[in-house]
């Protein structure tokens, strides 16, 4: 989902970083044959200037909406950036957000851990026989197609409004990418490698452990990364809906909205976004740690 964006950034970084080291390559890269030195210096500046300009533009737009579009009486809808920053320095607010964050992190990681175990087991089972795949894959697809929000009332109905219900929402939302990526990885092993294992009488288990699972690791980690982001979404959605028990970020967001505390609401949104980003980055890093040694992630399409 967000992966194509990621891939592009990696390529861009790769190109820009090779430029200063390899002047000979500059014309080949399409910068033209003229004055490669000047071009290279220019590329170095644009590398930072362009993203900074976009960022400054967005902040400017924010100010414009706050002060030029909104009447003073409606300014709470979009408090200016300095008010949002001020919310971060307010002790009681931060304490609330901090506690909520801890709760959301707990739900996210519990849900994600369960989704990983269930999803991988599900995929391994499907990889073992065509009939298993035919009977079990439709449910994985169903899981992806049913809007989880539609199931949330049912989950509350069955499991109450507490921690377990929130974790279940997380699991349901995070499960599919793990199932599909693991299955894809297990099935995409080169035929020649399978024949090598056939020739030497490898058992199913040996083949799974020594060939299929290691080969599937890059795809599996790509799945984890997507699911990690989704798991944060699940934790917050569950929270917003259930509204009871220990407050997570969802409840806090909802409270600030109710009380028309715009700045605090924005601050909480930023914290939630940071959590999503951190979890995504964590799994990207774990993936590189696990397979980066042998797998070139710039080819990563999943």
């Amino acid at each position: 989902m967000s992966a194509p964006v990621r891939t592009r950034t990696t390529e861009e970084t790769a190109v820009t970083t090779t430029l200063p080291e390899a002047p000979a390559a500059a014309p080949a890269l399409g910068t033209g044959g003229t004055a490669p030195l000047v071009r290279r210096r220019g590329a170095g500046v644009t590398r930072w200037a362009a993203p900074l300009a976009v960022f400054a533009g967005l902040i400017g737009l924010w100010y414009a909406i706050t002060y030029l579009v909104l009447e003073p009486s409606k300014r709470f809808l979009m408090p200016p950036p300095q008010d949002v920053l001020a919310a971060f320095t307010d002790g009681p607010t931060m304490e609330r957000i901090g506690e909520a964050l801890a709760q959301t992190v707990k739900v996210t990681f519990t849900g994600l851990a369960i989704a990983i175990v269930l999803g991988m087991a599900w995929a391994v089972l499907m990889s073992q026989a065509k009939v298993a795949e035919r009977s079990l894959f439709p449910y994985a697809v169903a899981l992806q197609c049913i809007p989880i929000l539609a199931l949330v009332p049912l989950i509350a109905f069955w499991f109450g409004y507490g921690f377990p219900a929130r974790v279940i929402v997380c699991v349901l939302i995070a499960l599919f990418p793990i199932v599909s990526n693991t299955l894809f990885g297990l099935q995409s092993v080169d035929r020649g490698m399978h024949e090598l294992f056939d020739l030497h009488g490898a058992s199913r288990t040996t083949r799974l452990l020594k060939l299929q699972l290691p080969a599937a690791m890059p795809a599996i980690f790509a799945g984890f990364r997507i699911s990690a982001g989704l798991s944060v979404v699940g934790a917050i959605v569950g929270d917003v809906f259930f509204k009871q028990g220990q407050a997570g970020l969802g409840i806090v967001l909802d409270n600030f909205r109710n009380r028309i505390q715009g700045a605090e609401l924005f601050a909480t949104i930023l914290v939630a976004a940071a959590l999503g980003f951190a979890v995504f980055a964590l799994f990207g890093w774990l993936g590189r740690l696990a397979v980066g040694r042998w797998y070139d992630q710039s080819r990563d399409a999943a």
Binding site: D190, G192, M193, L196, H200, V291
Partner: protein
């Protein structure tokens, strides 16, 4: 390295490790890949099948190894362990060279010490000593093929099947590996069935060359190769080599048309 060695059985005198009688193979789509193939491979014999692309040479090896059954006829393999070197090296990219070479011994349930010893010996034999900890991605095509060879060598196979193993390599690497293979063959005395479309490679390596025709593939001619164990690259430029290559080439063209 240089001392070729222990008592090598003369060609054709070792125990028979592979026997094909009237083997045919038809695929479900109706294509007849092989028809009436007879061949024998003994220990100490290096048999090469040369033929045009798509004549069913690879199918021959798949039947010999048991990867694919023959449609009719008998194909008997009488080897405790076989080595199969594929067109590409099929190394597991996440394993180091040493771990890759240990794979087959692991699959055959050899003890840890035996596996380790066999792998180190094999790596030394193929000249990859010192590259144990590298990953396949860090190796050249030729080195990957050496690793692949070493992997099969750990089993000390009676029958070695080669499916155009050097087809993707440059000529110099290919010739060097040919020499290594001759040396290994004389040191170990296995029986070999080698597939290639290169006439000179076939003549250079083999004790016997079988010429295969195009579809449906069958053996059209057999040549005994008179050269001994002491083959050197210069052999390729001798009149005897040229004459034999010419005959094989001629048979190949006759069978192909």
């Amino acid at each position: 390295m240089s001392a070729p060695a222990p008592s090598v059985p003369a060609a054709g005198t070792g125990t028979r490790v592979l026997r094909f009688r009237d083997v045919a193979k038809a695929f479900p789509d109706g294509t007849v890949a092989l028809e009436g193939v007879d061949l024998d491979v003994h220990r100490g014999e290096f048999v090469t099948v040369v033929g045009p692309s798509g004549c069913g040479k690879s199918t021959l090896l798949r039947i010999a190894s048991g990867l694919s059954p023959a449609t009719s006829g008998t194909a008997e393999m009488d080897a405790a362990r076989i080595g199969y070197v594929f067109q590409d090296a099929t190394l597991l990219p996440w394993r180091t060279v040493l771990k890759n070479v240990q794979l087959l011994a692991e699959l055959h349930g050899m003890s840890k010490t035996a596996t380790n010893q066999a792998a180190r010996d094999a790596l030394e034999l193929v000249g990859l000593k010192g590259h144990e900890r590298k990953l396949p991605r860090a190796l050249s095509g030729g080195m990957r093929m050496r690793a692949s060879l070493a992997r099969s060598l750990t089993l000390d196979p009676d029958l070695f099947l080669f499916d155009e193993p050097f087809g993707a390599l440059d000529e110099i690497t290919r010739e060097r590996l040919n020499d290594e293979l001759i040396r290994l063959f004389h040191a170990k005395g296995f029986g070999a069935l080698f597939i290639t479309h290169s006439v000179s490679e076939a003549v250079y390596l083999s004790t016997k060359v079988l010429v295969m025709s195009g579809r449906p593939g069958h053996i059209v001619d057999t040549f005994e190769v008179p050269f001994g164990a002491d083959r050197t690259p210069e052999l390729r430029f001798t009149p005897e080599f040229a004459a034999l290559s010419g005959q094989v080439s001629h048979a190949l063209r006759a069978g192909h048309s």
